[in-house]
Amino acid sequence: MSEIFSPTVAPPVRAEPVASEGAATRTVLIGIAIAFLALFLVLPLIAVFTQAFSKGVEAFLAAFREPDAWSAIRLTLTVAAIAVPFNVVFGLAASWAIAKFEFPGKSLLITLIDLPFSVSPVVSGLIYVLLFGSQGLFGTWLVDHGIQVLFALPGIVLATVFVTFPFVARELIPLMQEQGSSEEEAALTLGASGLHAFRTVTLPNIRWGLLYSVLLCNARAMGEFGAVSVVSGHIRGLTNTIPLHVEILYNEYNFVAAFAVATLLAVLALITLVLKSFLEWRFAGELAHGRSH
């Protein structure tokens, strides 16, 4: 899966490649590619902004005077603030275990870590409903102990952690595998403690890859809709995240406000892309090339 995140390192192109398409063919192909991307990817993004400002700046700003919008923003930030660090710790542990050691069943373990990528978001929500809902496996126990998991912060966090589970691990595993363990071994031989070696050798080596994966993990965590929609009770001002708030506004015929709040997420997406491109351009050598599994 990590291919999808792998930065593309183009080889230096020669001035006049012997083997290439003619200039006309090239122009046509470039034209098709750009037109296709513009139509399918860029136009929807532009639509978000034009719809948001279709009734003027005043109407756009009005969407953010709603206290419910702010509570949705707060909840989304809280969820990301828990889910992303959790996945960072998990990703570090998993990549350490997988990249630095040899043990049987490794590829099975990697496949299992990958699994949430290909699980439908709705299913990701459903599994927690089946576990923690009042009718679920642990439902009665949770009710007896007065613990609310579903339709509250814990449920939303769990669903978010599930959908973003592989993000950090799958960037770090190939990266650490590429780098090997010789530097750590050297540090350990020189008397460094394991944690010290990790902090002073491993972490600096993987920091850009880590940042890279945190970016993507965060974008997904803040934008998740399907899974969260199943485990959130859609309670205004309490369990609505930004994407759910967008849906609610949309269903209240408040299209301008819906698109206005959606611009928040669109801007987040743009910032993510800019930072990501910057990392790829500046630190390409220190990101995973992703073809090591």
Partner: protein, 342 residues
């Protein structure tokens, strides 16, 4: 020994993360708040009702109270209560959804319809038609929905209360003609052949019809039809009230088990009682619902609601258990019709 130290520190780190996880599993702190789990088109209504109730409650008891609301397709909303949303009261679109909560969780007593006046229904409504300006397809009555060139937009009766009322209204109209259930079944099947989009909630259907411009007629809650005129402009749509339609009862109930556990039973009961008060009844009329005590409402609001001959579906099909089973449960009429329609 170094390894041991590392292990200890790392263990501490893990425990810290673990503690963080556990602490977020603990219940959120309590506040004096009621949660009203409601259906799709009542968003604007309960925003008004909740504000006025909070005001009255403060005046009466001196306590501040917030009433939170959650909206969605009636079935989906009932499901969240069944799965554990801490609702104090439910105000859903159709009795069978509250029956389902009572049956599956026992958080609501089985005889909930006897706990409040008028079979726990503080207001009623009916189904009318929203058509494009000038009514180009000439839709006047239910029979016009079966014409092959009329595209009908209605929500999925499996998930939406409004969708179920539409379904039952069409059936009841046909049954009222010559008391033939098989004919009524076929009539409804005819209408659903004209449905190009089946959204999951009443709101989705309205957006499809009004915003996206799909379809010729939107059979919908009366209040929803008036709201569309307000929100999208009266110059784009007309409301057509059929001569006969259904007596739609969106009922309310106290989720007793939740309210008792949370210690909010008194406030929740007061909230439900408030729905029968003069002020609330007037607000219902203002939002184009039909108040059960017409004398409390402003005459101007009442004047907007035309005389329609209303029938009760229970008179035709029996108890709500039977209605639900006959039409909407797996293998029921709707399933058979949509299968036959392909």
């Amino acid at each position: 020994m170094k390894n041991g130290a590392v292990r200890n520190r790392a263990l501490g780190l893990t425990m810290l993360v673990g503690a963080g996880l556990v602490s977020c599993l603990l219940p959120a702190q309590a506040e004096t708040a009621l949660l009203n789990v409601s259906y799709d088109p009542t968003r604007e209504l309960y925003r008004d009702i909740n504000a006025v109730f909070a005001e009255e409650w403060k005046a009466k008891t001196g306590e501040a109270i917030t009433v939170r609301a959650s909206h969605g397709g009636s079935g989906a909303q009932a499901r969240t209560v069944i799965d554990g949303v801490d609702a104090d009261v439910v105000t859903l679109g159709i009795p069978s959804d509250i029956d389902a909560i009572a049956k599956l969780t026992h958080k609501i007593p089985d005889d909930w319809r006897t706990k409040l006046p008028n079979e726990a229904t503080p207001y009623t409504s009916t189904v009318v038609f929203l058509v494009r300006k000038g009514n180009p397809k000439g839709v006047k009555d239910w029979a016009d929905l079966t014409k092959p060139d009329v595209k009908v937009i209605t929500p999925n009766p499996k998930t939406s209360a409004g969708g179920r009322w539409n379904f039952l209204a069409a059936w009841g109209y046909a049954y009222g003609q010559d008391k033939d259930a098989a004919k009524a079944d076929a009539f409804v099947g005819q209408i659903y052949k004209n449905v190009p989009v089946l959204d999951t909630g009443a709101r989705g259907s309205t957006v499809t019809f009004a915003q996206r411009g799909l379809g010729d007629v939107l059979p919908t809650w009366e209040n929803e039809a008036y709201l569309v005129l307000q929100e999208f402009g009266a110059e784009k749509f007309d409301i057509v009230s059929p001569p006969t339609s259904i007596y739609a009862e969106p009922p309310v109930a106290l989720v007793a088990a939740n309210a008792e556990r949370k210690g909010t039973a008194k406030a929740a009961q007061a909230y439900l009682d408030f729905l029968y008060s003069d002020r609330a009844q007037a607000i219902f009329a203002k939002h184009h619902y039909r108040p059960i005590r017409r004398e409390a409402a402003a005459p101007a609001d009442l004047a907007q609601l035309p005389e329609i001959k209303l029938f009760k579906i229970e008179d035709y099909q029996g108890s709500w258990d039977e209605i639900q089973k006959r039409n909407f449960d797996a293998g029921g009429l709707f399933d058979r019709l949509s299968r036959a329609g392909r």
